[in-house]
Structure formats: structure tokens, C-alpha cells
Symmetry: C2
Subunit: 155 residues, 2 copies
């Protein structure tokens, strides 16, 4: 898997030196994404490829976030077939633009809709809530089947 | 189109007040993404949905970045049919996690591979270069067909 990071010459003063791209191992990927934060969910929706920023929480090894009940994102993430789960990718990163260093982690996995009251209540107790409060009431969980990461660092 | 941003209760002290979600108009989306920066490209590759961080530059209304010649990303982004372009989504955002505010912009469009020497030379002159220097030699351009954005702000 390749990842590319380009930049404009004006932001690359020669004094900064060269950068190398390294793979991040599984344990370190999990450590990097374990604080709650903003990630991006990517999937193919009714209008083609989509990528949306969401605030997530890592809970029992799964990525959990809230979306609007009956919203287009929620509908897009259902296959319409019982027990058939939608496949998505989820990305979290942190870059220092001035230093031209940073990391990104990609999780691939299946979307699970939290439709049972017991599971919903467990997540509410774990503290997952929405930023824009109100109608955003639907919990989505991504169970990772693959996690990979890359780091750009000083050579 | 809905976007969801969830957060843990511990990071939402009551004193911070409520947040609202607003659409960002086309002109403001372009203004927000016009400085070069890090974005995320999303597409369906051979291993399912993918989302990768890339350093991009906005050049003549298109998103331009570099990837490795003959890399898997480059291969994934080719349809194999002449003049048939691969559809992708591209996301750029900026969030203040402490304040729980920020914005994200999504561009949807077709991938154009810069295979001609003249176009390649124009982009090199415009200053697009790779962070990890070396074999990353293939320019990719996304021509937007749709741009949308959302902002989370103090109510």
C-alpha cells in the first residue's frame, strides 16, 4: 500500500532536510488512535465515493460515533440485507505542516448499526455523545478487520 | 447530506454551551481549501474502501498531489479504460478539539493522471513536490464536480 504526501516547493525550505516514509505496526496504530478524536469515514454512497469527518471514540477495540437517525449517511451505510454489513474505511492522522512530519492510520472494517437498547445503553454509559446536540441519535460502530499506518519522519 | 461529530462526555464540560451544524457555501469552501495542506483521498480500491492522507495543492481549481509511479494507489485509481476516469472523494478539515468547533469540505470528482510531459512540467513549475522524496513521481489531479462543506460552531 502506498501513501503519497506532496507539498509545494515554497513550503520546503532546503534547510529542513529529507523525509522518509515508514510503516507503523499494529500495536502502535492502536495506541495512536486510542484517544478520542476526529477521524474520517469513507464509503461508497448513493452519490459515489464519500469521505466525512466524524468525532469518534475507541470503545472495546471498535470505532464508535454518532450520526443522525434517518439521515442519508445512516441510510447509505445499510446494505438492506439482514446481517450483511457495509464495508468502510476510517482514517485518523496528525501532521505538522511546518515540519513536514506526521502519521496516519487507516482502519478497514464493517459497519454495525447499534439498534438494540442494551448495546445503545452501554455506549451512552461509555460517554459517546454528539457535538451538534439534538437529533443525532444513531450509534455506528466499525469493527476493524485491517489496521495499517504510515509515518513521515526526518530521515 | 448529513455529517456527524460525536464526542465523549468527559470532553464536553457543560460550560462550553451548545454547537450548531451549518452548511458552507461553494465560494467559502474554495477559500478554505485554497491554502495547500493535508487532505484525504477516498476511493474503492482492490481491497475495498480506502482513505489516505495526502499533501495537496489547489492548482487552477483542481486538487493536485503526487503518488508513487507504479504504486498500488496509482494502479487503483485507473479504470483500465481509455478516457474513463476514476471517481474519488477528497476531504479537508480543521477542528479545534478543545472548543469542539471546526469545518470540513468534501470534493467529489474524477481522477486525472498527468501522463503528458507538458502538463507535468506545468505542475513542476507550479511547485508541487513530494514530502518523502524519491520515487514518488506520478502527478494526480482531481477535477471537482461537486464541493460541499459543513461547519460546527457555537450556537
Amino acid at each position: 500500500m502506498t501513501e503519497s504526501v506532496s507539498w509545494t516547493a515554497s513550503q520546503r525550505p532546503d534547510g529542513l532536510g529529507r523525509r522518509a516514509l515508514e510503516e507503523i505496526d499494529h500495536a502502535e496504530c492502536l495506541r495512536l488512535i486510542s484517544p478520542s478524536g476526529v477521524g474520517r469515514i469513507a464509503f461508497t454512497g448513493r452519490f459515489g465515493p464519500m469521505v466525512l469527518a466524524v468525532g469518534y471514540m475507541l470503545h472495546e477495540g471498535t470505532i464508535v460515533f454518532l450520526t443522525a437517525q434517518d439521515g442519508t449517511t445512516e441510510e447509505d451505510l445499510r446494505t438492506g440485507i439482514a446481517h450483511a454489513e457495509f464495508k468502510v474505511a476510517f482514517e485518523i492522522d496528525e501532521f505538522d505542516v511546518d515540519e513536514r512530519v506526521g502519521w496516519s492510520v487507516m482502519v478497514q472494517g464493517a459497519v454495525h448499526h447499534v439498534d438494540s437498547a442494551a448495546e445503545r445503553s452501554a455506549l451512552l454509559n461509555a460517554g459517546v455523545k454528539a457535538w451538534p446536540e439534538g437529533a443525532r441519535e444513531h450509534f455506528i460502530r466499525i469493527t476493524p478487520t485491517m489496521i495499517s499506518g504510515r509515518r513521515i519522519c526526518h530521515r
